[in-house]
Amino acid sequence: MTLPPSLEAILTFLQNWWVEIVCGVVIVAVVPLIAGYVVLVERKLMADMQARLGPMRVGPHGLLQPIADALKLLIKEDLIPDNADKLIFWLAPVISMVAAMTSMGAIAFGPTFQVARDINIGILFVIGVSSLGLLGIILGGWASNSHYSIIGAIRSTAQLVSYETAAGLAIVGALLLAGTLRIRAIVDAQQQLGVWFIFLTPVAFFIYLVASIAETNRAPFDLPEAESELVAGYMTEYSGFRWALYFLGEYANMIVVGSVATTLFLGGWLRPFPNVHWLDWLDFLPPLIIAAVGVYCVYRAGKQPAEIQIWFMWAVALTCFAVAVIFAVPLFVTSLKFILPGLHGAFWFLLKVSGYIYLFMWLRFTLPRYRFDQLMHLGWYILIPLAIVNVLAIGVAMILESEFSWNRWFAALLTSLFTLGVAAFLVNLYDKRTAAASAPATAAARDPYAG
């Protein structure tokens, strides 16, 4: 039967775009949950490193803590400071949240799972849209109309802008090797070369690591909301759900930054040593790891005090085993072989992203905080020049390799050493400058009795 034309158009639209829509819905639904559990993991890790237990109250081992937090934030009254700019006060957290979520659109969580099906400017889209989050921070600081939040907003803007340059140049370094902006093509390039780009351009990876930490306002660079001086920077006046939006935006941004680093430097969804065929038993690793988690849950289930907690731990264990079976099926059933890359690719990708985020958290627990001028100094005087020199070095390495047919490894090694030499020069230039700037008069050891 003939449908009305508009319905026809919608049906055709759905027909050829349903994969993207499903992926999009999954991302928008799952990311807040994941962000919640990343917060829980962070609190548990911090507790573990500080000889304490972390949240244990809500659900067994605090597993339901994120849901409790979300509920609390929803119920809590979010007040608006008087004569604050109502419209922009509401808009700012939305901008920072939307920026983080849309930039996830272009990220390929696995060879099949990608919302924007391989757009021509893949990585650039992710970086560009995630830099919009900056607007959310400025407007948030401005709209809350309090002295401290404006200073916090100005500081975090200056930090983000300068470290975005460093991150962009570090990414240029890796893109030279990949030769394309398309995310899928970058990972394929790493597969053909058979090596992850982190080994060819280690300096670019570390510059990007430092810049991405600063870009998400975390760890030693979390100055804008340094508790001790600005109380909470631009987020001071926010509470309740609006604050949760900012918080979600920050964690989503962390996942985005992690996935960009994984795609560019850690070989996206490639299994370690993808082309080495005698290492193919590594394909069995994903189901084994998930099964191990399930076994640990069973082991912990026995120790839970309350009845309900035992049931809950059993439920978690069973889901782990089910997922492990799903991962194992394509390995054995040859007819389902084609699922293997998509499924395992997503697992490896998420494993690497979580490793990257673990590094973020680790730094947060151990390192003290930079002062603002040191932070800007590190950004402008050391990271950006180093990133420029690194791009130069990679260009030279590629030319050496293609024109003078040097061995690729040798060229990469030589140029990396050259860049490290420049880095050492920059760092001691920085130390000499700070030492000279404030050398105090050395006090002779005086014995008061002598006087």
Partner: protein
């Protein structure tokens, strides 16, 4: 917080951030990093601090006035409430001053146990300082390591005199309680694993370039300034002045033990950090030497129930963890002191804040308040 800021702001000709020539920012009294209820008014030029003004008195309880209506024994618990982080040292200072007034000598066993408890208290006080100081500068983990060690010490105090923080462990003339039988073993076990634990802090902080960046050449105080301002304790020693009452005017049983006095060179926050870390190691050595041989004998000297010291005055000072803690007591022959004047180290060291902070950034003010290791209970009395 901040209301004073509003009045000053509007009076300025143009208070836009751009042309902000003079900006007054209020830190405290409810600021997360002022170690209690201290209010610091910072006059800022952009980010640099031009001048500061400390507003204190939020924790003033009039301890010295109360002393005039308490007998000597009744006043002893008040002394613990002054520097609540190092209550045992306060008690030691007060008891020794009154003993000096009565010209009575505590028996040797009491003096050795007093030394051990005071040194343990010094370590506990420095641990609190290290934890909160690192937290202000952003390192989250040292706080929990320090409080884990301090918990061991507080357990020993609790076993000895029943209280953890405000212990009132000593009596005028000696001790109230005999050392419980596992005392030497506990102290030895603590000192044994404290050696490894200090290494945790050193690994975390000493070599850390961000820590050095935040503390080197911050809040510099030269030796001459220290002496002029009357600063004492680790603040004085970090500027190179080798002056410690435990060596200069030995009290309790300090003359029997060998320990050295750490001093710094250029009196900045990093040197104060190193001096206090070294002091913790030295205190540990003193405890180890002390528990080898605790002399036998009575723990309370010949002091009657009612103390009626002859009219007169006495001044006696000891080396508290924060600096020189002095007591000046005037007695008029009755059972109650006529006047008790206390010289708290934190109050005097706080005067150095203004000189140390000038020219620094707001982030450094927090680090400098931390390095002075002030406790407001002692500053306000």
């Amino acid at each position: 917080m901040g209301n004073a800021l509003q009045q000053e702001d509007t009076t300025k000709k143009n208070s836009t951030l751009l042309g902000a020539d003079e900006l007054v920012i209020n830190m405290g009294p409810q600021h997360p990093s002022t170690h209690g209820v201290l209010r610091v008014k910072l006059k800022l030029d952009g980010e640099r601090v031009r001048a500061t003004e400390c507003v204190i008195g939020y924790l003033h309880r009039g301890v010295e006035k109360i002393a005039e209506h308490r007998t000597y024994q009744q006043f002893a618990p008040y002394v613990d409430r002054m520097d609540y982080v190092a209550a045992v040292s306060n008690g030691l200072g007060y008891c020794e001053t009154v003993e000096k007034l009565l010209s009575v000598e505590a028996p040797p066993r009491a003096r050795v146990i007093r030394t051990i408890l005071t040194e343990l208290q010094r370590i506990a006080s420095h641990l609190v300082w290290l934890g909160t100081h690192a937290l202000d500068i952003g390192a989250l983990t040292p706080l929990f390591y320090c409080f884990r060690e301090r918990e061991e010490i507080l357990k020993i105090f609790e076993k000895y005199c029943g209280a953890r923080l405000t212990t009132h462990a000593f009596r005028i003339g000696g001790l109230q309680y005999e050392a419980y039988d596992g005392f030497e073993k506990d102290v030895e076990r603590f000192c044994k694993n404290f050696e490894r634990r200090i290494q945790d802090y050193v690994d975390l902080l000493t070599g850390n370039s961000i820590w050095i960046g935040r503390t080197r050449n911050v809040g510099v105080l030269s030796a001459a300034d220290c002496i002029a301002l009357g600063a004492s304790g680790p603040v004085l020693r970090a500027s190179g002045v080798k002056w410690d009452l435990r060596k200069a005017q030995p009290y309790a049983a300090y003359e029997q033990y060998q320990f050295d006095i750490p001093t710094g060179t250029n009196g900045d926050t990093y040197d104060r950090y190193m001096v206090r870390m070294e002091e913790m190691r030295q205190s540990r050595l003193i405890c180890l030497q002390a528990i080898e041989k605790i002399p036998e004998g009575p723990i309370l000297g010949k002091v009657g129930k009612v103390l009626k010291p002859a009219a007169g005055e006495v001044y006696h000072s000891i080396e508290a963890p924060k600096g020189i803690l002095g007591y000046y007591i005037v007695s008029d022959g009755t059972t109650q002191p006529y006047r008790v004047r206390i010289r708290p180290p934190s109050f005097v060291n706080l005067q150095a804040l203004d000189k140390m902070v000038r020219g620094h950034l707001v982030a450094d003010v927090v680090a400098i308040i931390g390095t002075l290791d002030i406790v407001l209970g002692e500053v306000d009395r």
